[in-house]
């Protein structure tokens, strides 16, 4: 079983995002970076599949040279091959990202065979485009299911479940396929110290993707104005329960 996981380096933001003075980027001077949460689960899922069925976990990222940190993060929890599509820091839009990934997948597969499974996160938290995995699937002509929160993989097929309106949708797919997963599919492990040591030494295969202008032309970024009055204090401790009850009554949520 050969699994490829595509991950993205994203900033870790606090309760407020700050935009650079030119309004084009978020100010990441004091921010750390991480693998986006859905994708962290995707890596974990891949590692578990390979632990069970044998095979390889390749992890690919498209991003600036610092994104190698996220590849090593993935290696620390069990990824075996690291692939870096090194950008000059410019933002690749979903179309450009998908094209770059597809080109590299072709090259990699030509050498080491088809990936049975290509995993993505359902969406990146920073740009929230919801589409790179699907575009890659179309280009590779492989089936695709998004938002997967439960996955069973056999030698040639997969059963993917996801939530839909409080219920549960099941998809049955033949391999190879493309899946985008959501946080909650598993609880990712923390990297062990030996894992970190392996990650430090892991080899990263590098490619240079071609940037192309986006048809969604960013004019600027801004932080929404959230003005909210301070809460009305109903009271302190259990003494506040009558007031709380009256409020629930007023809102109409009591039967």
């Amino acid at each position: 079983m050969n699994v490829l996981v595509c991950i993205k380096r994203v900033a870790m933001v606090g309760a407020r995002i700050v935009v650079t003075p030119d309004g084009q980027e978020i100010d990441t001077k004091q921010l750390g970076f991480t693998v986006s949460p859905h994708e962290e689960c995707a890596v974990e899922e891949a590692v578990r599949i390979v632990e069970r069925l044998g095979g390889t976990v390749s992890v690919l990222t498209l991003g600036p040279s610092e994104a190698s940190e996220q590849l090593r993060d993935a290696a620390a929890i069990g990824a075996t091959h690291l692939v870096h599509l090194k950008t000059d820091g410019r933002e690749f839009d979903p179309i450009a990202t998908a094209q770059a990934i597809v080109e590299v997948v072709h090259q990699l597969e030509a050498v080491s065979g088809t990936y049975d499974l290509i995993l993505f996160g359902n969406e990146a938290p920073d740009t929230g485009d919801y589409q790179v995995g699907i575009r890659v699937a179309h280009s590779l002509d492989r089936p695709c299911v998004t938002g997967v929160k439960n996955l069973e993989v056999a030698e040639t097929s997969a059963r993917a479940r996801r939530e839909f309106r409080g219920g549960d949708e099941l998809f049955e797919l033949d391999l190879p396929c493309v899946l985008t997963v959501k946080e909650g599919i598993n609880l990712p492990r923390y990297p062990s110290l030996p894992g970190r040591m392996r990650a430090k030494k892991a080899v990263i295969e590098e490619f240079e993707p071609v940037w192309q202008a986006s048809l969604v032309v960013k004019e600027g970024l801004r932080v929404p104005n959230v003005t909210r009055e301070r809460a009305e204090i109903l009271g302190t401790g259990v003494d506040a329960v009558p007031a709380l009850l009256a409020l629930l009554e007023q809102i109409g949520v009591l039967s």
Binding site: M12, V13, G14, A15, R16, I17, V18, K29, Q30, L31, G32, F33, E69, R72, D73, R189, Y190, P191, S192, L193, P194, G195, R196, M197, K200, R230
Partner: protein, 843 residues
Amino acid sequence: MTSMSDTTSRARAVIVGAGIVGNSLACHLARLGWRDLILADKGPMPNPGGSTGHASNFIFPVDYSKMMTQLTDDSTRQYKELGVFTESGGIEIARTDNRRQELRRRASAATAWGVPHRLLSPEEVQELVPYVDTEFIMEGLYFPTVGVVDSLRAGTLMREEAQASGALEVRANTEILGIDLSEDLKSVRAVRTSSGTIETEVVAICCGVWSPRIAQMAGASIPLTPIVHQMISVGPIELFADTLGEISYPIIRDMDTNMYERQHGGDMEVGSYAHRPIIVRPDEIPSIEQSVLSPTEMPFTQEDFDPQLEEALELMPSLLGNEKAGVRYAINGLISMTPDGHPVLGETPEVKGLWSVAASWIKEGPGIARAVAQWMNGDVPDIDLHEADIARFYPHQRTRDHVTARARESFNKMYGIVHPMEQWESQRPTRRSPVFEQEWGLGAVFFETVGWERPYWYDGNDELLEKYSDQVVVRNGEWESRWWSPIISAEHLAMREHCGLVDLSAFVVFDITGPGALDVLQALCVAQMNVAVGRVIYTSLLDERGGFKSDLTIMRLGTQWFRVVTGGSTGMTEKKWFADHLPEDGSAQLSDLTSAWTTFGLWGPRARDVLQACTDDDVTNEGFAFGTCRTIELGGVRVLASRISYVGELGWEIYVPIEEGAIVWDTLFQAGQEHGLIPVGIGVYATTGRLEKGYRAFGNELTADYNLVEAGMARPTVKKANFVGREAYLAQREQDPVARLCTLTVDDHRSSSGTLRYMLGGEPVLSLDGELLVDEKGRPSYVTSAGSGPSVGQHILLAYLPVANAQQGTKLQVEYLGERYPVTVAIVGSTPLFDPENERVRS
């Protein structure tokens, strides 16, 4: 919040910052009876997001500094009272021979401060901490009283105590917007906050890494910088699964790798001071809203920690090497770093009522707060804080460049083996004497003091080694020969035989002038200052309890004109002490002339011959008596000559306008050639010459916890005029002292390996049966100063001894690098070993 910003309130004091320091300070001020206190923090309670919130919270009780050890001890006592202390024990590990020696040196410090400790073999370490690999351990130093504290809880309890007593109002989520000053910009009037303006005369900045930012609002500076300390938490650790509470195994300090490993519940925390120094500017610390964890828990930079992993794994392979234990938490934690490693405490010299209580670790927080509260209350703190006084810094030491350079340099020395004389490499040279070039040419080896480059000895004098070979002791022990040269002894002997020229440019010089000048000095100095114009007076300054505040010399240059001269390292604090006591009516002024005057010391039996060769003025003993000063013409320059000596020789301190310093030096130097004059370094001035004469030094012998009687410096009479500490001094004179300052000589320098070893100071003094000497006030005896006495052929130690032991001829021991050496009490009191009748200085 905006609706409240118009409201104005009043407070006796506003404490900014609700970390361990601010909470403790509020509590201690309340205990001292202060009311109407406001504690404000921009973050939420109980963890507003400062360094307290991510501290590893463990306490090792030993530091080479007595002050730091006492502060830690007091803090530990307070934590215990609050019920937040858990004793775990702690072990410092040596992986190398050098570190092994260092552990022994630390053990001696522990002995001196009465801290329980024991050296352990690798196997003994493993008995206490079963998960270490003994292969990487040479030796361990075990401190059974090491423990961990809950500093957040402690802060909460102290804050709540102050609130419950009605003394304190707490304002969380309140940002300081500005500090308003009086019209003359010299004192605090109000604090503007996001929850309104607070009128107050007192603001205490307890803001840790943010402190410089807040001080700046009032135009003051707090020289510290935020710096990153990396920490990871690894778990779950199987071995810890069944342990109760937070910690069951001793904390390991892996000194040679600059790391510590400390159990925290089910996890192992691994902290590092080994990574590159990562400096953050105070204005770059993210806001609470921008931060993912908290402003002082910055994003972890894996690549900086990576090199440490291997060493951590080496020491604890089975525990940290378990694949099931993961890194669950990792931060670049911000901590405060100061240029000299000490906290920054006290009222800022720039603004009255603006107090700094910054750069404290968890282990000192409550102790610092208690001492500063006493200080704010106008009392003398129980613990002598002069080493941490914010007034100590010179302008250049307050610059961003200096602070960051020194922080960068000292970061990796946090667990380092730092020699007491070790020199800084960065920011040098900063202050150069006018004869720097001449000294350089003479082969000066420069040591730095408060920015000044001072020749410690001159390599060019090495030919003297042969001449004095029978008197110069060569040190074979590596430790005591570091930052030292036998040339110092040779210079000493040459000076005593002929004469020497010493560059004293680091002196701080300030004039007190005006109709009220005499009153100012009378009110501060122990000595009678109402003396004839032209007299030079050496005097002590005391605090209200009669402890030493300072010692210095003062020249009376006119009826309303006094010149105060003091050492560079303490000059700025002393300047503030004088400035604080100037009359409010403006009848006396202080002007700092440090940068206007340079000083040379010309001392030795031939000093008069040299000086006379350069001047037509009368410099005979009759014409220029000891203890007097006056302006003379030296070549084409008018200089102020002052006939005193710190090395016990005939001679003068010569004060020269700084731009004429070089020509005066050259004149003296040339004239001196036929009289055997040599350049002499500070090694002689500060150590060998001084110790042979038994002269006491401020900070060594003269500290706030000893007095004039104990130091053997009490004069037959006490002047009538009142002065600070007079009452206490009178009382001290009425009682028999419980300790006396003694001069000790070493009877046998031979170590177990046969090498002759020479103490450097700080060593504990023990009875022959190995007990630490402790006087009735609980003060342990330790060597306050140590150095060669080439003219008396002895290695000289000064130490306060309990009266029972303070008898001439008493046999005792000192512990140095883990071994004990026999010593004898040579002198009780201030009689010098060399020239006991002081004939030379008066000749």
